[in-house]
């Protein structure tokens, strides 16, 4: 581990710009050294890389050590602030896309990989562009790593891991495309996040040619270094939950419920539409059969038959769209809510631990000189967590609003198109079969 060496600057976790005001300045407090805790004392050296952020530094490819997260903040935090301001001002400097799914057939297994393309001007990246291939496993690994290393933040959800075999064809075009969109969304959300986008694992994910090597190395390092932060999952009872988190918890409960209901309704509608389609497919041809019997009526009968046939096509498009575009996003948000609730629980536990320790001090008065440091460490943890989470929650709410706005407008659009397609076809076919004066008035 190159503590003072010329390595890629670790992307240290930082709180969102707003919540910093609530925190005591990291360099101001007397116990800042202690707060840092552990081996990862931020050193002024870290300033260096920024000023020599040139490409002539030879960097080991994918050899960056696993980053750990302590709630400590470093002096580079201030610099981070400025960068964040830029991001908020809508100048993005990191673009990620997931595209081009390909099937790989190996002796042991068959799987799909996706091309992940990155374009960036950030100094944390050696090159302005990257293009590598990843499979679902890799995304899953990334998400786990993010959860581990950024426990105070909300990590976006992945599309469902397990697919019931036989029910869904995991290699069908529709399934792969749906998954690709979800993976793309996943990476974009991370890329847009002021803290998560600077996470080391994310960087490696986007850039490393051999991710597996890194994964193994990371594991080894972890076992050496050990988790620097382990949140005690003890059953600490919470004295009082801050209002905003209590409200968020309740909100998420109801939100997930409502989404679940909408999911069921949407599925039901699709089911009814499919059954309607089945009947229509029998209905249209009967008019044609009748037309075969008639002379003068043949044309209008064929006209109606064609109309119905056209309705079938349009309906098929609608049900496909809803299945592929609408339902997955709903489910994604339900997963998102679940993971958010978990983060809220973790926060509660951190707070609980702090409160318990605080109580313990009150009882053991003679241990006062030593304990405060530990207690203050806990307090910091709580306050960092609260700050990070609050910022993320606000981001999430905003994104959620935009996402649903887009999703529901999309749903309305698809239905409009469904009717438009029919109307246009009906008008054109009817005008050949029916008196023009009647039809063109519509």
């Amino acid at each position: 581990m190159s503590a003072g060496g010329v390595g890629t600057p670790k992307s240290l976790p930082s709180s969102g710009p707003k919540s910093l005001q609530d925190m005591p300045h990291p360099l101001a407090g007397p116990s800042s050294e202690d707060i840092a805790g552990g081996e990862l004392t931020p050193s002024p050296d870290l300033q260096l890389p920024r000023s020599i952020a040139d490409k002539d530094l030879s960097l080991p490819n994918g050899g960056t050590p696993a980053g750990t997260s302590s709630p400590a903040s470093s002096s580079s935090l201030l610099n981070r602030l400025q960068l964040d301001d830029d991001l908020d001002g809508e100048t993005r400097d990191l673009f990620v896309t997931v595209e081009d799914p390909k099937k790989h057939v190996c002796t042991m297994e068959t799987y799909i990989t996706y091309r992940v393309t990155t374009k960036t001007s950030r100094i944390e990246f050696d090159l302005p562009e990257y293009s590598i291939r990843r499979r679902y496993q890799d995304f899953d690994w990334l998400r786990n790593k993010l959860e581990e290393s950024q426990p105070t933040h909300l990590i976006p959800p992945l599309p469902e891991k397990f697919v019931v075999k036989g029910v869904v064809d995991r290699f069908s075009e529709e399934f792969v495309e749906t998954r690709r969109k979800a993976l793309d969304k996943f990476l974009k959300r991370i890329a847009d996040h002021p803290v998560l986008s600077f996470n080391e694992h994310f960087n490696v994910f986007l850039t490393a040619k051999d991710l597996n090597a890194y994964k193994k190395q990371g594991m080894a390092l972890l076992s050496k270094v050990g988790e620097s932060v382990k949140y005690v999952t003890g059953g600490y009872k919470l004295r009082s939950r801050p209002l905003e988190f209590a409200a968020m918890g309740e909100y998420l409960d109801t939100f997930a419920l409502k989404l679940g209901t909408i999911d069921r309704i949407a599925q039901r509608i699709i089911k009814e539409e499919v059954e309607y389609l089945v009947e229509l497919r029998e209905y249209g041809p009967v008019y044609s059969t009748w037309g075969g019997l008639e002379m003068e009526l043949e044309e209008p009968l064929e006209g109606v038959s064609a109309c119905i046939g056209n309705c079938c096509t349009a309906l098929e498009d609608l049900t496909d769209d809803m299945t592929e575009d609408f339902l997955p996003v709903l489910r994604e948000y339900i997963l998102y809510s679940e993971s958010m609730k978990n983060v809220l629980k973790k926060r509660d536990q951190v707070q609980g631990e702090y409160e318990a320790k605080l109580e313990a001090i009150a009882l053991k008065k003679e241990e006062r000189p030593k304990v405060p440091a530990e207690v203050e460490k806990c307090q910091d943890r709580v306050e960092c967590f609260n700050a990070d989470l609050k910022a993320d929650m606000e981001r999430w709410q905003n994104n959620k609003r935009q996402d649903f706005r887009q999703l529901l407008m999309g749903m309305a659009d698809k239905n409009i198109q469904y009717y438009e397609k029919q109307r246009i076809e009906a008008r054109s076919s009817d005008s050949t079969n029916f008196p023009v004066e009647i039809i063109t008035s519509y």
Partner: protein, 453 residues
């Protein structure tokens, strides 16, 4: 009997119908047709019931079945029953100013309509007699009731009965029938009057008709083709109506489930701040969407009723064809009978036996008959042959008249059918387009609400 030119009544759709060309010879002979040739055919509104010259309607009339009422009464078995009665109002229209004056008003129930139609079928077998609306609700989908007392069913039946009367009234031949006239004007004892015509006795037996279908050798090809068309038409419209009912059912389901969005959006909006209003108002549009299907399907039901009328018309068409087959078969049988009698006569006269005969065999067994006996037999046969020839001539004439008259009405019917169905199909297409427009409207409104989220 002088036949005044039948007044052309406008049909239900305002078209004028081609009338029949009554053959004066047949008109006079109708009553005197002998045995086995079926009931007297009223080729033109002649016959023993004419009281006035020409038709019964001195002025143009308007008929409406304006009301339906639930009634209870006692049936033939003296058991209590509930039935619906329909009010029939007849108005005559002043040619000068178009004002209509109520001339008759009476109540009839469905069974009386049936009686009228059965009567018409017997006395006008060459006419494609307009059908009645269905006796029991068929082709129903889940929302429609199969109950005859259901108000929607009664309402649709009321319209169907009115349509029936209008069709009869606008038919150049049928409109002149006295029983029809009395149906509209004589409330009491009309049933007895109909039964007095003895039409039930004159009706061809089913078995006879079926027999004829299989055994007739030279039916008019046009009728054979027409019957085939009638079969096919019945089959295809039945199929169509069955599938349409299922389609309606499914479409109903699709629309109604959307109503659930209304509720859940409303509940969801309660926990949202900025998104709340947009969701709530979008939910309202989802409710509107779900409710819109009721009117849409009600309109479609009328379209289905129009198709149903022609489904039943197909049966009337087939009835005319069957009548032709029966007459033709009768003719063939009579001709065959005549031919065999002639042959018998010849054999007796010449003494040669070419064909097997019981008489021949018995005479071989029991001895030849005397010349006197043979003479007597020849004489009887000659009389029978003479009668048979007369009958055959009549039957031939009847047959030709029937074909001519029937084909004329069939041509009229074809035009009517093409006109009516074309209109029905057009209105159906228009309904579909209108449904699309409504759909676009609702979803556009919803989209706008979503955009404000």
């Amino acid at each position: 009997m002088e036949q005044g030119a039948p007044e052309q009544q406008p049909g239900p759709l305002g078209e004028s119908l081609g009338g029949l060309d009554p053959d004066p010879v047949a008109a006079g002979d109708v009553e005197s047709v002998g045995i086995g040739s079926g009931p007297e055919v009223r080729l033109a509104g002649s016959g023993d019931f004419m009281t006035t010259e020409g038709n019964f309607w001195s002025k143009k009339i308007e008929i409406s079945v304006s009301e339906a009422e639930k009634r209870t009464g006692r049936n033939a078995m003296n058991m209590q029953e509930t039935y619906t009665a329909y009010l029939i109002e007849t108005r005559s229209v002043e040619p000068s100013d178009g004002q209509s004056v109520l001339t008759d008003s009476l109540w009839r129930r469905y069974s009386e309509f049936e009686l009228l139609r059965n009567y018409l079928l017997v006395f006008y077998p060459h006419i494609v007699v307009p059908p009645l609306p269905e006796k029991r609700a068929e082709f129903v989908w889940h929302k429609l009731s199969a109950d005859n007392m259901d108000p929607d069913f009664v309402e649709r039946r009321r319209i169907g009965l009115e349509n029936f009367l209008l069709r009869v009234a606008s038919h150049s031949v049928l409109s002149e029938d006295k029983i029809f006239y009395l149906f509209l004007t004589q409330e009491n004892n009309w049933k007895e009057t109909v039964n007095e015509t003895g039409f039930q006795l004159k009706a061809d037996s089913r078995l006879k008709a079926l027999n004829a279908t299989f055994r007739v050798k030279n039916p008019d090809k046009r009728f054979t083709e027409l019957k085939h068309y009638g079969d096919e038409l019945q089959s295809v419209i039945s199929h169509l109506l069955r599938v349409r009912a299922r389609v309606a059912d499914r479409l109903y389901g699709v629309y109604k489930v959307h109503g659930n969005y209304g509720r859940v959006f409303s509940e969801w909006s309660a926990i949202e701040k900025e998104m709340g209003d947009g969701l709530q108002s979008a939910g309202h549009h989802m409710d509107v969407y779900a409710a819109s299907i009721d009117d849409i399907l009600e309109e479609e039901e009328h379209y289905a009723d129009q198709l149903k009328e022609y489904l039943f018309y197909a049966e009337a068409l087939r009835a005319v064809c069957r009548k032709h087959e029966l007459m033709q078969y009768d003719l063939e049988m009579a001709a065959q009978d005549l031919a065999s009698k002639k042959q018998q006569c010849e054999e007796l006269a010449t003494g040669t036996v070419r064909t097997f005969s019981l008489k021949g065999m018995t005479s071989k067994l029991f001895g030849q008959e005397t010349p006197e006996q043979r003479e007597a037999r020849i004489k009887v046969l000659e009389e029978q042959i003479s009668e048979g020839e007369e009958q055959l001539k009549c039957k031939n004439l009847e047959g030709r008249e029937f074909v001519k008259a029937a084909w004329a009405d069939i041509e009229r019917f074809k035009e009517q059918k093409n006109h009516d169905l074309k209109e029905a199909l057009i209105s159906y297409a228009v309904m579909q387009i209108s449904m699309c427009k409504k759909g676009i409207q609702v979803w556009t409104n919803a989209k706008e609400c979503f955009s404000k989220m």
